[in-house]
């Protein structure tokens, strides 16, 4: 690739500049400020774009503001001629590439045309100035060697950086013994998951043994259940046997018993029938006996009275009225006698008679003549007595009158006026005079004085005093005295004034009045006393007269009494007190006695007749009471009549009984026949045997019933006959065994079923468990994530490794080739003073002299250093000529070279010219001279 023409529309100081260059060496000469660097930069700008505005590099925009940009005309072995034009546009400029065939293209194609080189890479090899070489001075050995390599291999530094970064990133992803990097973490997680899965698997691994166990348990349970069933059946059989065996035994026993009993038949209902017959028989027999007895009884004849007696009785009964009349007479006589006796008794009592007097009275003379003799005697005596009584009464009256008068006398003595009253009375005329005087004076002065008050006081005092004396109460007397004194004082104080006079009059007027009255009273009293004395005297005289009269009467009376006594001296009783009455009573008494004698006679007569009657009846009927005589007679009669009737009846009855007896006998015979009939069947002769036969029959019946019962119970258990060989104890033992076995089985079954349930649960759980698959899936996810990370890691590793390999490839293949060429040239340049540039083990460059001495780069002289550097660059350019056949652009790099070395340099460059175009910018004019042959010299700023 070679530049044919440079056209600058506007670039720095250059405007519309056109520079034609040739394929080989071109020297672009210009003094300072001519714009050499501007042209050099313009070439780079056009190829790789204008620098960004913020970049350090200059953009060389025309200060005039004119057209900016330019174009390069290029010949290219590979792509033919093409032209690149870059003008102002976007910041890197708008670029257009024109091909020879007229095809136009832009940036994309340009990259290809520039072989992917960017400006930095281009500059690192193909474009350098003295300045860039001079920079080496300041670099240390590492930098130099790196820069040497880097500048020769385009941005190797970047690769290193990337490699380092990759290494770091890898470490961040994964460390062999690390823990924190994500891959290590993932690994850890995976491991944990694996562990968890193992555990889960182990857990699930129990599934099979568990299912086997479950199957075993299932089978065991089934077997046990079967056995249980069998045992149940057996137990059932035993149970049945337990119930059946006693029944069978009973059956057997009953059968045997039945066989032992005689097989006689017993008439149906025999006993009842027999008993009925027997009772009927006994009934009939007793009936018969009764009849016979009755017959015997009836056969006795009834005793009866003979007809004459009966007729006598009937007669007596007909005379009953007569009998009653007799009885009535006796009764009334007795009553009469009793009444007379009563009367006699009354009279006797009334007369107060003793038995002796009674006797005498019967003969006493009670004539009316005698009665008249006695009457006047009695009259006289009575009159005297009456007079005496009247006198006595009069005497008593006179004495009581005298008593009264004495009492009045004593009373008057008490009413006698007191001494004080007498004194007052004595003073009365004085007082009266004073009062009149006062009145007179008052009347003169038309005034009156009142002396009443003192008078009143005094009177009051007197009165009270009188009362006190009368009552003998000295306190009151004292009070009266005080009053009187007060009255006197008042009196004395009677004022002389008219006023006083009035008072005086008022006071004493009343007093005087009082006094007057008192005087009258005293006089009255004296008069009464005199009257009383006179009365007493008169009464005393009357009393004496009466006493004399009484004496006389009493004497008269005594004389009358003696006369009467003489008259009644011979009488059994004193009949003088009430003579007429006494005589009447005595006469009555004598009458009663006479009547009594008459009635007693009649009574005795009646009684005699009755006795005769009773004796006659008693002869016939035996001893008999008189009162019940007729009752018994009547009874006797009725009895007689009844006996006759009865006798008739008895005869009738006997006839009846005979016929009844016949009947009963017939019945008895029938019953007996029937009984015999009954006895005939069980072949017995008497009742005991019959009953024994019945008992046997009953037993047989009972046994038969039992047998039936047992048979029916047995029939319940089975249709076919059951036979058991066991004995009961054996059976019992077997039952116990079965029960125990059943319990054991049940226990085991329960435990097994529990286990079954648990296992079922566990198995189901395991079967449904997602855990394992979840873990698996999670494991896969983590694995994928790890792989993802591993990929990242590997990618980084690949990048790193590829960079390393490329670098080492360079080191091992390209670099040795470059170095060989560089060595040749370096050796040539230095006139074989230095033979090679080699790399130390550490990767640093060193120069080795022909004698084998090696120097580090910084130990070389400035020019030699530049020469070493140039040798390397040119060797690189030469090496890359196929891939990057770019022109080499140099900005005065040879200034430090001596002539010899410069000419050698020129030789080397000439050697390179066929493959590379050279643009050499210089300010040294003589430099043109150094180049010979086909060298184009262009002066800058000369157009």
């Amino acid at each position: 690739m070679k530049i044919r023409k440079i056209v600058l529309y506007g670039f720095g100081q250059h405007e519309d500049v056109e520079i034609n260059v040739q394929a080989g060496m071109n020297i672009l000469y210009g003094p300072n400020e001519a714009g050499k660097t501007t042209i050099q930069q313009a070439i780079l700008h056009i190829l790789f774009g204008f620098p960004q505005k913020n970049q350090q590099e200059l953009r060389y925009e025309p200060k005039t503001g004119g057209k900016y940009g330019g174009c390069l005309y290029i010949d290219d072995k590979e792509f033919g001629p093409w032209m690149i034009e870059r003008v102002r546009g976007k910041s890197s400029g708008d670029v257009t590439v024109h091909f020879g065939d007229g095809r136009k293209t832009g940036e994309d194609e340009l990259k290809r045309l520039l072989r992917g080189y960017d400006r930095a890479a281009f500059e690192a090899i193909f474009s350098f100035s003295l300045f860039q070489l001079q920079g080496l001075e300041r670099m240390d050995e590492t930098d130099i060697s790196r820069t040497l390599l880097a500048s020769g291999t385009t941005g190797l530094d970047t690769l290193w950086k990337v490699e380092k970064k990759m290494d770091k990133e890898m470490a961040a992803l994964f460390k062999k013994a690390g823990r924190n990097p994500p891959m290590n973490q993932k690994l850890k997680e995976l491991k944990e998951l694996e562990l968890a899965m193992q555990k889960e698997q182990q857990k699930l691994a129990t599934f099979e043994p568990l299912s086997i166990r479950k199957q075993q348990v299932d089978e065991r349970v089934k077997a046990l259940r079967r056995e249980e069933q069998q045992l149940h059946e057996q137990a059932e059989e035993h149970r049945v046997a337990m119930q059946v065996m006693p029944l069978q035994q009973q059956q057997k026993q009953v059968t045997e018993q039945l066989a032992a009993l005689p097989s006689e038949s017993f008439p149906a209902d025999g006993i009842r029938r027999y008993e009925e017959l027997a009772s009927k028989q006994s009934e009939l027999q007793s009936k018969r006996m009764r009849i016979v007895k009755e017959q015997q009884l009836t056969a006795e004849t009834i005793v009866m009275r003979p007809d004459n007696e009966q007729r006598q009785i009937e007669r007596w009964v007909a005379q009953e009225a007569e009998w009653h009349r007799l009885r009535g007479d006796v009764l009334s006589a007795e009553q009469e006698i009793r009444a007379l006796e009563k009367k006699q008794q009354q009279s006797k009592q009334r007369l107060g008679l003793t038995d002796a007097q009674q006797q005498a009275i019967e003969e006493m003379d009670l004539s009316i003549q005698r009665e008249r003799q006695l009457e006047p005697l009695l009259q006289e005596q009575t009159t005297a007595e009456q007079q005496l009584q009247a006198l006595n009464r009069m005497l008593a009256e006179a004495e009581s009158e005298r008593q009264e008068a004495e009492e009045r006398k004593i009373l008057l003595a008490h009413q006698q006026p007191t001494d004080a009253e007498r004194q007052q009375l004595a003073k009365l005329p004085e007082l009266k005079r004073q009062l009149d005087e006062a009145k007179a004076r008052v009347s003169v002065a038309k005034q009156s004085t009142n002396r009443a008050i003192p008078v009143f006081f005094m009177v009051m005092g007197l009165l009270i005093g009188a009362y006190g004396v009368w009552q003998q109460d000295w306190f009151i007397v004292t009070v009266s005295l005080i009053t009187i004194v007060a009255g006197i004082l008042l009196w004395k104080k009677q004022p002389d004034s008219m006023e006083d006079l009035h008072d005086f009059i008022d006071k004493h007027e009343v007093h005087v009045e009082e006094m007057k009255r008192l005087k009258e009273q005293v006089a009255e009293h004296q008069r009464q006393c005199q009257q009383l004395e006179a009365e007493i005297d008169r009464l005393d005289r009357k009393l004496q007269k009466l006493a004399a009269e009484m004496e006389q009467v009493h004497h008269q009376m005594q004389q009358a009494g003696i006369a009467l006594q003489q008259a009644v001296q011979g009488d059994p009783i004193d009949s003088t007190s009430n003579l007429q009455e006494n005589f009447r009573l005595l006469r009555e008494y004598q009458d009663i006695l006479a009547e009594q004698r008459t009635w007693k006679l009649r009574l005795a007569n009646g009684k005699q007749q009755i006795r005769t009657w009773v004796d006659q009846v008693e002869m016939l009927l035996g001893p008999i009471s008189e009162d019940t005589l007729y009752e018994q007679l009547r009874q006797e009669l009725m009895k007689q009549k009844a006996s006759k009737e009865k006798d008739h009846n008895r005869k009738q009855l006997l006839k009846d009984l005979d016929s009844q007896l016949n009947e009963v006998d017939t019945l008895l015979a029938t019953v007996q026949r029937e009984i015999e009939e009954l006895f005939r069947l069980p072949d017995v002769s008497d009742k005991e045997q019959f009953y024994a036969a019945y008992q046997t029959d009953q037993e047989a019946q009972l046994l038969k019933r039992q047998l039936t019962e047992v048979n029916s119970q047995l029939a319940l258990y089975s249709k076919k006959p059951l036979t058991f060989d066991w004995t009961l104890p054996e059976l019992e033992r077997q039952r116990t065994e079965t029960t125990e076995r059943l319990q054991i089985i049940r226990k085991e079954v329960t435990a097994l079923v529990d286990e079954q349930v648990k296992m079922d649960h566990k198995l189901t759980e395991m079967g449904a468990s997602q855990t394992y698959s979840e873990l698996q899936q999670l494991f896969e996810v983590k694995k994928a994530e790890l792989e993802e990370l591993a990929k990242q890691w590997v990618v980084r590793k690949a990048v790193m490794e590829s960079i390393r390999q490329t670098m080492s490839g360079w080191k091992e293949h390209q670099l040795p080739a470059v170095l060989t060429l560089a060595n040749t040239w370096f050796s040539c340049l230095t006139g074989n003073r230095y033979r090679t540039l080699t790399l130390t083990a550490e990767g640093y460059f060193q120069a080795v002299t022909a004698s084998g001495q090696s120097f580090m780069i910084n130990e070389l002289s400035q020019a030699t250093k530049e020469q070493a550097y140039l040798s390397l660059r040119l060797a690189l350019a030469s090496e890359l000529s196929n891939r990057a056949p770019f022109p080499v652009i140099m900005d005065d790099p040879f200034v430090h070279f001596d002539n010899e070395r410069l000419s050698r340099m020129i030789e080397i460059i000439k050697e390179l010219q066929p493959s590379h175009q050279f643009l050499y910018f210089t300010c040294h004019a003589d430099m043109q001279l150094k180049w010979s042959g086909e060298t184009s010299v262009i002066e800058i700023g000369k157009q």
Partner: protein, 403 residues
């Protein structure tokens, strides 16, 4: 001639974990975990509803030593459902669930007929047609020798079906298991070859049908597309196979053009639109996005966030989305080299690209040698390419930053 009908499935890999689901959260994981069961349930539901004459399952019901108990119980329950529906099942175990494993086994109901460790025949009659099935179960993890010789040639009468879990001889992409060639199979004169082992659905031949039904649910990015099983109607004259999809979640990839998009929100919208289109078609998905035409977007993206952040932003749009959407990766085109010096990058990239798989393994040796190596899969060619690309991109980016 009777036509019989059966379902052909293989490689259920029940309850096996999804691989490569880095950064998935618990919600996503739960969803994924359900998916193999969900797919299997669809299969069973289809069988119960459609009542085929029988079902063949050609190996790899479980995922190997890691088989979960839950998976077995679910399988057992499903078999029970088929038993209840009176559908016989013929199954052989494959390399993943070979007979030598000492894992717990659950007992299967009586409708399930398991082939033993040597090729054996099972014969019975359906509607007067004699059906003969040949097959075998893997006695151990590896069966590298061909088993095809042990299969008897079909007789003149009846229908013959071969069950074979293995791979075509010479297929370097998969490890060799019971290798066979198509012509070997054809020589047996069977009416249908029910194959298993390869998870990608494919028809090796038409006469007779030699069929890999593929697995019923994709489980990583290499098992893309709709998965399912075959509903086969077979008579001596002809065979009809109908594919029945089962996959609950579909692994898929999508290219999104970013032409004309400058800003992030527009980019998110464009991605969503594209994804929603796929969701509408496939339902739940795990998707790998590939970005193209990113020139205009590039500056913006590069400056504002890292690629993983963009992935997070986009994932956030689909958190708890129904149907389920998980964005596995976003592939960005490698940055153009225009920005930086080729001279610097080129030699390094040249070095990088010159590496062979062994060289990469060598790089990995530090990891492989470490205990981490246990968890890291060996690199594949495609991995190498990817890594190469990533490394180049990283290098370029770093150089750009440093330069």
């Amino acid at each position: 001639m009777e036509t019989i009908r059966f379902l052909h499935t293989a490689d259920l890999h029940l309850d096996s974990p999804f691989k490569g689901m880095a950064a998935a959260g618990p919600d996503e994981l739960a969803r994924l975990q359900q998916s193999t069961f969900a797919a299997f349930d669809r299969f069973i539901a289809y069988a119960v509803e459609q009542r085929p004459d029988f079902i063949v399952i050609v190996g790899d019901i479980y995922d190997g030593e890691d088989r979960s108990l839950r998976a077995q119980i679910r399988f057992q329950q499903a078999m029970q459902r088929l038993e209840n529906a009176q559908i016989p099942v013929f199954l052989s175990y494959g390399n993943h669930d070979h007979l030598a494993g000492n894992w717990t086994r659950v007992s299967l109901p009586e409708n399930v007929h398991v082939f033993g460790d040597e090729v054996e025949q099972k014969q019975w009659t359906i509607r007067g047609e004699t059906i003969t099935i040949y097959g075998f179960s893997y006695p151990q993890r590896h069966v590298k020798e061909p088993m095809i010789e042990d299969y008897a040639t079909a007789g003149p009468d009846g229908l013959y079906i071969g069950l074979l879990h293995g791979s075509v001889a010479g297929d370097s992409a998969h490890a060799v298991y019971a290798p066979f060639t198509v012509s070997e199979l054809q020589q047996k004169n069977y009416h249908y070859w029910a194959l298993g082992h390869i998870h990608k659905r494919q028809l090796l031949a038409q006469e007779p049908p030699i069929v890999y039904p593929g697995n019923i649910q994709g489980r990583h990015r290499n098992e893309q597309g709709v998965k399912g099983f075959y509903d086969v109607s077979l008579s001596r004259e002809q065979a009809n196979t109908t594919f029945i999809p089962t996959s609950a979640i579909v692994f898929t990839a999508l290219t999104v053009s970013c032409r004309g998009i400058e800003y992030a929100d527009d980019w998110v919208a464009a991605c969503q639109e594209a994804i929603d289109g796929v969701v509408a078609e496939l339902g739940s998905i795990i998707i790998e996005l590939v970005m193209t035409d990113t020139e205009e977007l590039a500056d913006n993206l590069q400056r504002s966030a890292s690629e993983s952040e963009w992935l997070d932003i986009l994932r956030e749009q689909y958190v708890l989305n129904e149907p389920f959407v998980w964005i596995a990766t976003i592939d960005w085109p490698s940055s153009s080299t225009s920005e930086f010096s080729n001279t610097l990058l080129e030699p390094v990239v040249d070095t990088l690209t010159s590496w062979k798989l062994e060289d990469w393994d060598e790089l990995m040796s530090e990891l492989y040698g470490h205990r981490a190596g246990r968890y890291i899969e060996r690199l594949t060619l495609s991995d190498r390419e990817q890594l190469e690309q990533q490394a180049t991109a990283l290098l370029a980016a770093e150089l750009l930053k440093e330069g």
